[in-house]
Symmetry: C2
Subunit: 144 residues, 2 copies
């Protein structure tokens, strides 16, 4: 469904968001351990997310990655996926036709766009605020 880049990115951002209340910054080593991902690769992913202002970072001692608490409700998973995987998942044809539209639809088009739209809406409606609630932190896992 998503690329490894995107999977690590989503998990990393969720983890960072979950520390936002305590205003704690988290290091790349803490993140990659928490989400069980390759450290150097995850660092690259976070570089992209920092450039796109999804997370913020500070260098040096006591530095690390963080998200301001006030931003949690405006950052949705769809935004993160868009940055890391592009919008192919939101607009692309299920059978790989170069363009997907109602005018020259593939045989799967009208069934596929429903699924695609449901996925899109689900990601749009899921914000970091929701995912960083105490209830969420207690009940869900970022690695296994």
């Amino acid at each position: 469904m998503f690329s490894k880049t995107c999977e690590y990115g989503l998990r990393a951002v969720i983890f960072i968001a979950q520390q936002a209340k305590t205003n704690k910054k988290v290091s790349i080593s803490a993140i990659s351990e928490a989400i069980d991902s390759p450290q150097a690769f995850t660092a690259k992913v976070l570089q992209q997310l920092t450039k796109h202002k999804i997370v913020q970072s500070i260098k040096g001692p006591f530095g690390g990655f963080f998200i301001e608490e006030k931003n949690l409700k405006t950052i949705s998973l769809s935004h993160i996926v868009q940055v890391l995987d592009g919008d192919g998942i939101y607009t692309g044809c299920g059978l790989g036709l170069q363009q997907c539209n109602d005018k020259e639809p593939c045989p799967l088009h009208f069934k596929f766009i429903n699924i695609r739209e449901n996925l899109k809406k689900m990601l749009e409606n899921t914000t970091l605020l929701e995912l960083s609630s105490d209830k969420n932190i207690a009940n869900y896992y970022l690695k296994n």
Copy 2:
């Protein structure tokens, strides 16, 4: 969503199915032209599908690929996806956790499994019989 292998495979099988009524066999060159895919690569994909009995093939003059008309209603798109992409799309975690289950769910689990299940059901309910109807052939495209 799907690999290129799977996209070409789905389009190829749909095209072959659409010729099943006339009992016509289709060559790999006819297929790759009809669905606008790289010929040699598509041939490899069809090799896999032939091994898995989704399509049949005959070598030599007047040979080619075909599907028996009586099989159209039992072959679903989910079967083809399963063969070419495996069942990761049906059982895998949206955030890439090694295993997806209700006991140790990722933060997206209960939202994601709905989408995943809808996709699975859609593919299961879509048979080659439906996709090879005259109405379907008239209204939908396999390339653009």
